[in-house]
């Protein structure tokens, strides 16, 4: 193998406070440039897994290597830096900041990465163009439809040119037309080389993924 896998997890486990085992030891890897879907019944631990992959949560057991590097020993600041530089997040509930405009929402990750105002607004505008919202940069999230919101969310996830795009049920709140648009966007991004791991209940999306990881009761089926 030439390049390391984007994601390698071994025996990954997560036990919540109170003793609930959401993940009971999962092992898999996702190659760079792959498009993987995680599917499974509600409550089986998909979000838990994705949060760990996104460095928002730490596993209580097992190891997680991001691009070949172990994440276990890293401190909060290092995890944040890694997350900021390498990972983009797309949420089911969009999670846009309601008081910021679409443009400002997209520019926010670049602000945290330390980019100057002018270049980051320019890039945010380009990203909005890219997701087909070039004209709606000044709208606030409340003034956008669900599908548009999610496109802003994706543009925001792409802000710092992540190598890995994680999406937790990105079409869960959308109608079928919007879902299809979002799926097309993901496919395009994947074709350009972005590794994508997304959680979904949508069989259409599952079908278009290169690989489907099925989770059940905290284990890979």
């Amino acid at each position: 193998m030439s390049a390391p896998a984007a994601i390698t997890v071994e025996n990954l486990a997560r036990t919540y406070q109170g003793g609930y085992q959401a993940l009971k030891g999962v092992t898999f890897s996702v190659a760079a440039g792959e498009f993987a879907a995680i599917m499974g019944p509600s409550g089986c631990g998909k979000s838990t897994l994705l949060n760990i992959l996104g460095l928002l949560d730490r596993p209580t057991g097992g190891t997680y290597r991001l691009e070949g590097a172990l994440t276990a020993g890293l401190g909060d600041a290092e995890l944040t830096a890694l997350r900021r530089a390498r990972i983009g997040f797309v949420f089911q509930a969009f999670n846009l900041l309601p008081r910021l405009s679409a443009l400002e929402n997209v520019a926010l990750p670049m602000a945290y990465a330390g980019a100057a105002v002018a270049p980051r607004l320019e890039r945010a505008r380009a990203l909005l163009d890219r997701v087909g919202l070039g004209r709606k940069g000044e709208h606030t999230p409340l003034q956008l439809s669900g599908g548009e919101r999610q496109r802003v969310g994706i543009a925001r996830a792409l802000a710092n040119k992540p190598a890995l795009l994680l999406a937790d049920e990105p079409t869960g709140n959308l109608d079928s037309t919007s879902s299809a648009e979002i799926l097309a966007l993901f496919k395009e991004l994947n074709a350009e080389g972005t590794t994508i791991v997304l959680v979904t209940h949508d069989p259409a999306i599952g079908a278009s993924a290169q690989r489907v990881l099925r989770v059940k009761d905290g284990l890979l089926a």
Partner: protein
């Protein structure tokens, strides 16, 4: 993130919750204003006492008849002669100023007629301390005293720079009212049964500036005459010994020597009074210090109340801040997912709080300065006038 951006996002957040922000800033304002006000008042009070002490003289002793003392008939009482003896024995004293007063004095000047004047018999040394006046004409001199001259100096009560609401219940002195209409200088005034020449008019400083204006009872008007003249011409005939005085004020000129002179004068007076201790000598600083101590206790209790109020409002602010943070847990999560460090988040909330604090503080400064501005102006004017007269006297 840069400071400018933090500031901008803080302002945005404050703008998004105007009512809450305004209330927080207001309560901060009130707390800080209360603090500033208390501090400025305390500082002002200390300064007043300093000023009063400086005006009174550093080594001030107050000799007065002992209250409630039943005489054995051996002592003539506290007299002008006592004061002369002290002056003779201790010429190095800066001031020996005996004083007696005749209350309920009849006076008549043109159309002005009053039976409630206060005649004060003094010596020229009276002017050496506590000088806060503006003088027109001349002060009483040694010759007036030696000749028991029928001359007098009228005291014009201080006016108000800014009249407080209760001042209208404080009657204006009749004499002051009269002489403000017609200049009495050089004219004749009938005091008791004798005609006096008005040789001077002393104008008191404005009441706002004079911390002592309410301490001396001026009746319907105060008239200064030579002590010898008071004894000879104004004291009622039933007075057993016209030589008695109500007070002898002494200033050694130096705080260090006050205690020593207090002992010496006491020995001297005891001998003159044939062993009767029918007088008391007080160190003015002790009088002031006990007053100051009382004031301090008062201030401390005020401060405690203020602190409790600030504490209570502080807890309220903390509560609101915590509620704000808790209500924004989700936002914090989102920002963290987008790459914000913990420091970024903490700075975000801190800059909001700081901005509210600055706004609150600015509000507090405005209200506190308008509240204390008057007393500050008054204070500075007071110390200015004190310095002035000090320079003129020394």
């Amino acid at each position: 993130m840069k400071i400018a951006e933090l500031g901008r996002s803080a302002l945005q957040e404050i703008g998004a919750h105007r009512t809450r922000s305004a209330m927080t800033a207001l309560s901060l304002s009130i707390g800080i204003a209360a603090m500033l006000f208390t501090f400025s008042q305390t500082a002002g009070m200390m300064k007043r006492y300093d000023d009063a002490l400086r005006l009174a003289g550093p080594g001030r002793l107050v000799i007065s008849p002992r209250r409630g003392y039943a005489g054995k008939g051996l002592s003539p009482g506290l007299t002008f002669s006592d004061a002369r003896e002290i002056r003779l024995r201790y010429p190095e004293l800066y001031m020996v100023s005996p004083r007696n007063s005749h209350y309920g004095l009849d006076g008549r000047l043109d159309s002005f007629k009053n039976g409630d004047l206060v005649g004060r018999g003094i010596t020229p040394e009276w002017a050496k301390r506590d000088w806060v006046y503006t003088m027109r004409g001349r002060m009483l001199n040694e010759r007036d005293l030696a000749e028991s001259a029928r001359v007098c100096v009228l005291v014009e009560a201080g006016s108000w720079i800014k009249k407080p609401f209760w001042a209208k219940y404080w009657p204006e002195q009749a004499l002051t009212k009269h002489i403000s209409r017609r200049d009495p200088l050089g004219r004749r005034i009938l005091l008791g049964e004798h005609l006096f020449t008005v040789v001077g008019v002393l104008k008191e400083p404005p009441k706002d500036l004079d911390p002592r204006w309410f301490r001396t009872w001026g009746g319907s008007g105060q008239v200064l005459v030579p002590l010898t003249t008071l004894q000879r011409s104004l004291m009622p005939r039933y007075q057993k010994n016209p030589d008695v005085v109500e007070e002898i004020a002494v200033d050694t000129g130096d705080a260090e020597t006050a205690a020593a002179y207090l002992r010496r004068i006491k020995v001297l007076l005891l001998a003159r009074h044939r062993g009767e201790e029918d007088f008391e000598i007080k160190d003015y600083r002790e009088i002031m210090q006990s007053a100051l101590k009382q004031m301090k206790e008062f201030v401390v209790s005020i401060m405690i109340i203020g602190l409790v109020a600030i504490l209570a409002s502080g807890i309220g602010i903390m509560n609101v801040t915590l509620a704000t943070i808790f209500s924004r847990v989700k936002e914090i999560g989102i920002r963290r997912a987008l790459g914000a460090t913990r420091a970024d988040i903490i700075w975000q909330f801190t800059s909001e709080a700081m901005m509210l604090g600055v706004l609150g503080g600015a509000g507090a400064r405005r209200s506190a300065s308008s509240a204390s501005g008057r007393s500050r102006r008054a204070r500075s004017a007071c110390s200015r006038s004190a310095r002035y007269t000090w320079a003129a006297r020394c």
